[in-house]
């Protein structure tokens, strides 16, 4: 019973704060760049408005085009449901790192299919780039996860991200933690991989793929990327500070929810700072980034074995 309640609290909380996180990153960025910045709550309003708008659908599309938003948002909900994000034992213990990596890849694949199905040059460009990034980040993801699994002596996400294992308590994980940050940036289409703010053809990856989506479908895709960002920030947070332990009472719940909010605020701050201080990489230098992530992950894995 407690498990079900914790699960419900987690899903509702993560789904609820996801747009806020996206808004917060934009707000922090604006402040860093000396602008006033829109309210972080604007994203909720934008999503609700998009949801009510008429949906213009491309004449070139097939059934895949309509399936994509459901699959992508479905995977995002799957992540919010199965990972230990709020409590140390919430989530589904049966889900392990390989399933997590596979499901993330599945979501990328469907985004790519949606981008290509629209039959525009933009969609194809974004799809080709996203597929390259997804294919090359996959080894880094699995290798990083392998390092965490080696330290935790288990591949279950609950035992790795939920049980208070942090980069401080296991210094051998520092490199893998660094790799995970690189992966977070790549998976969520942030700087220096992708520029989430512009629709400039030279830079865009994620936005190019969703260009043909409008109305409710666009809202779903935007919402999915918010959820994914939130989930990744919370996972990184889990590896920095441990979740509150204790009996299942209002006190623990309060602490856990407070921890989640603190994590996303700090995470958004860091992301805003990063995005205001570095430039986007040229796409054809991306293999350097991917190689760094991969080798960082590989050395992280070796380090966990040596230490």
């Amino acid at each position: 019973m407690i498990m079900v309640i914790t699960l419900i609290i987690q899903v509702v909380l993560v789904l609820l704060i996801a747009p806020f996180v996206s808004g917060l990153v934009v707000w922090f960025k604006a402040r860093f760049q000396g602008r006033q910045g829109a309210s972080p709550l604007l994203v909720y309003y934008a999503l609700l408005t998009t949801l009510k708008k008429e949906h213009v659908i491309s004449a070139s599309r097939s059934w895949v085009f309509r399936l994509v938003p459901f699959m992508v948002l479905g995977v995002a909900v799957f992540l919010a449901l199965t990972l230990p994000l709020v409590f140390s034992d919430s989530g589904i213990s049966q889900v392990d790192l390989f399933v997590l990596a596979g499901v993330l890849a599945l979501s990328s694949v469907f985004l790519v299919l949606g981008g290509l199905d629209a039959a525009t040059a933009f969609g194809g460009m974004g799809a080709s780039r996203e597929m390259t990034l997804a294919a090359l980040i996959e080894p880094a993801v699995l290798t990083t996860f392998a390092a965490f699994a080696t330290v935790a002596e288990s591949t279950s996400v609950q035992e790795i991200f939920g049980q208070g294992m942090s980069a401080w308590s296991h210094p051998a994980l520092l490199l893998s933690f660094g790799a995970l940050i690189l992966i977070t940036l790549a998976e969520n289409a942030r700087y220096p991989i992708d520029n989430p703010a512009t629709h400039l053809e030279l830079t865009m990856v994620h936005e190019a793929m969703v260009l043909e989506y409008s109305g409710p479908y666009l809202a779903m895709l935007e919402y999915a990327s918010s959820i994914k960002l939130t989930v990744f920030l919370l996972i990184l947070g889990n590896l920095v500070w441990a979740k509150p332990e204790g009996a299942f009472d209002p006190m623990t719940i309060g602490l856990a929810v407070g921890g989640v909010l603190a994590t996303v605020v700090v995470g958004s701050f860091a992301l805003g700072l990063l995005e205001s201080s570095i430039a986007k990489m040229r796409f054809f230098r991306m293999q350097e980034y991917m190689s760094i992530a991969f080798f960082l992950a590989l050395f992280g894995l070796i380090l966990t074995l040596v230490v």
Binding site: L51, A59, Q94, D117, A119
Partner: protein
């Protein structure tokens, strides 16, 4: 009826032969149909026979016992039954498929001989799996090879004949190596059986074992398409009719894996660390090169062929890791890796058969194998494209399909043994893990390219725009069964593992388990489906469904057409760029002035040459060297009769000297 149940296997072989005989009876379509029906019946009987063994593994089925004087010549044990069931399943599917598929190609192919050759091909594979003696094994192997050689050139075009001849050379070098291996091991005697051979192998000196291992490795590896012996595969698979490609890639490659495993597991004594590292190294090399070429190739069927090389590479990697583990004493990893390799082989047989059957329909619809001429097929072929999507996702080893759980077992096995005390073991396992995940990422790319470029967006050619040949019900059935089977293989992975003797890898009837890790495939599936349904309900509740209108895509102010879409070449450009040191593609842009006085009005021609470094730096120089030697030898033929007489005399002397 009782006779049938006792002699199921014999009946299966009989129906396969019958299929060939019926096919040769005449050119009418009736004989074509009857031949396919007979092949399908043979497959069904074979499936039942295999399942009888799965359910009662200790009772191997033997046939033709009354003719065997000393030992069973033909016998089906549990290990053989796994592969026999694959041959049977693919025969049924291909027979159903070919029934209608070949009707569109009555002009191109000579149906009676094609069907008869298919029957011989299947019979050869069945005999290989059933045989317990080197002689029977080699007979089946040759029947299979020769039949498939003729099948590759069944459209009698120049390209096919070239591909078939290359295939013939490679396959015969391989067959010769296997035969030499058997003869060497049996000290020249062909009339032994595998168990006698195994006891003989235990007492021979180690250099003989090494030679035999090398011969078997080359023989089976070249047939399976291991890099660098793979050059025939990307030529032969596309040239053959699509259901033959499905046979060749789906089961013939599996038969060579069967042969290799049969030799390693049942005949040769445990191979050492260095031999297993050789297998592992070649496996990883094949996986990496296979997947890179699969990503950059523009030909639908060649992409699939390269993807087969990649998958075979993965299977050999798993086999290599298994024997490496057993040689360093990691029994747990040995079991996991060997079961994972067989399980992955099963899933590969299913999805690759399905994908090659898909290729037949696609190529017929577009009249081209070129991905640049495809596109937009998901609209005229909706159900077909759903099946294709499932098969492509399965081939990319994504959850929740069977191939994912094969890789899952392997990864778990690697990870749980990576923190070993020995540096060598850790290093080998980490290196394998790193390369296999790199290959896994690129495999997703290759499969997405294949599906998206052929099925989605606007058609890129006139043929793709007006598709006349829609898939018939038989073709849809076969492709659909493959899609359903790979899905079920994921969902019921624990059950399948129990059936094929990997019961140690199942925690309960619904859970897979490797060491300390357990996973429930059905739970993953339901969670994924549940999340998607939740999203669907949420969308219904929060927005109006009918509130939409159709319009053309965003066009930047001028009308868009299919020529502005991304092509397969463009789609894979980043990978080609990032891996240019390995792929060594030659890109040339030539600029020619149109008007001599104006430097700005020029015409550009761009050529992109996908080279095969194995051909350019390996086979072509060797071929040139052999031709050069032949030129030199030709000088002996002076035309002088007395010189020839001298040569004959010298030969006789030499022969006598050696013989006496």
């Amino acid at each position: 009826m009782l006779w049938l149940s006792e002699h199921m296997l014999f009946a299966s072989l009989l129906f396969t032969s019958l299929s060939g005989v019926v096919a040769l009876s005449g050119r009418s379509l009736l004989f074509h149909k009857l031949s396919q029906v007979s092949l399908a019946v043979s497959g069904v009987l074979g499936l039942i026979a295999s399942f009888k063994i799965f359910l009662a593994p200790e009772t191997g089925l033997q046939i033709l016992l009354e003719f065997a004087e000393f030992f069973p010549v033909f016998q089906l044990d549990l290990f053989g039954a796994i592969f026999f069931s694959l041959v049977s399943l693919v025969s049924v599917l291909c027979a159903v498929y070919a029934g209608s598929y070949l009707r569109s190609y009555q002009e191109t192919y000579h149906l009676p001989s094609l069907n008869a050759l298919v029957a011989a091909f299947v019979l050869g594979m069945q005999i290989v799996i059933l045989s317990q003696t080197p002689l029977a094994f080699m007979t089946g192997w040759e029947v299979m090879s020769i039949a498939s050689f003729f099948l590759v050139m069944s459209d009698r075009s120049q390209d096919s004949i070239r591909a078939a001849l290359l295939y013939l050379i490679m396959t015969h070098l391989g067959a010769a190596a296997i035969l030499a291996g058997f003869l060497f091991l049996a000290q020249g005697s062909l009339f032994t059986d595998f168990s006698t051979l195994a006891s003989m192998a235990r007492i021979v000196p180690s250099w003989v074992l090494w030679t035999c291992f090398g011969l078997f490795f080359f023989g089976f590896g070249s047939k399976a398409g291991l890099v660098p012996f793979h050059v025939w595969l990307p030529e032969a698979h596309p040239a053959a009719p699509s259901h033959i490609s499905a046979f060749m890639s789906g089961v013939m490659l599996k038969v060579s894996i069967y042969g290799f495993l049969r030799v390693l597991l049942f005949i040769l004594p445990p191979i050492g660390t260095s031999a297993s590292l050789i297998i592992l190294g070649f496996g990883l090399l094949s996986a990496l090169f296979g997947v890179l070429y699969a990503v950059v190739d523009r030909d639908f069927k060649r992409t699939l062929a390269f993807s087969s090389i990649e998958n075979i590479g993965l299977i050999f990697t798993m086999i290599g890791v298994a024997f490496f583990a057993s040689s360093v004493g990691l029994v747990g990893l040995y079991e996991v890796a060997i079961v994972a390799s067989v399980f992955f082989a099963i899933s590969h047989a299913i999805f690759k058969t399905g994908l090659f059957l898909v290729s037949g329909v696609v190529v017929r619809a577009v009249h081209s194998r070129n991905l640049e001429k495809m596109g937009g097929l998901a609209k005229p072929l909706p159900a077909f494209s759903v099946f294709f999507c499932v098969l492509a996702l399965a081939a990319a080893s994504l959850p929740p399909f069977g191939s994912f759980f094969g890789e899952w077992m392997f990864f778990q096995g690697l990870l749980q043994n990576v923190s070993s005390t020995s540096v060598l073991v850790s290093a080998v396992l980490i290196f394998t893990f790193a390369l296999v995940v790199l290959v896994g990422g690129l495999a997703i790319f290759a499969m997405v390219k294949l599906f998206a470029l052929s099925m989605l967006a606007e058609p890129r050619s006139a043929h793709a725009r007006e598709v006349h040949e829609l898939p018939s019900s038989g073709e849809l059935f076969s492709v659909g069964v493959c899609a359903l089977a790979i899905f079920a293989l994921g969902l019921y992975a624990p059950t399948v593992l129990t059936l094929i003797g990997g019961g140690a890898m199942t925690a309960s009837p619904r859970e897979l388990s490797v060491g300390s890790a357990t996973i429930q495939p059905s739970l993953i599936l339901w969670l994924l489906l549940g999340s998607v349904v939740l999203v669907w309900v949420g969308r219904r509740l929060t927005s109006r469904v009918k509130h939409e209108r159709e319009y053309h895509g965003w066009d930047c102010g001028q009308p868009i057409d299919a020529s502005m879409e991304y092509t397969a070449t463009a789609f894979s450009a980043p990978i080609r760029f990032f891996f240019r040191l390995i792929l060594r593609t030659k890109k040339q842009i030539a600029t020619q002035p149109v008007v001599a006085s104006n430097p700005w009005i020029v015409s550009h021609t761009s050529t992109l040459n996908m080279r095969s470094i194995w051909m350019d730096f390996g086979y072509v120089p060797v071929g040139r060297f052999l031709l050069g030697v032949a030129e030199q030898v030709k000088k002996v033929q002076s035309g002088n009769i007395r010189f020839y007489l001298f040569l004959i005399f010298a030969t006789i002397i030499l022969t006598l000297w050696i013989a006496l």
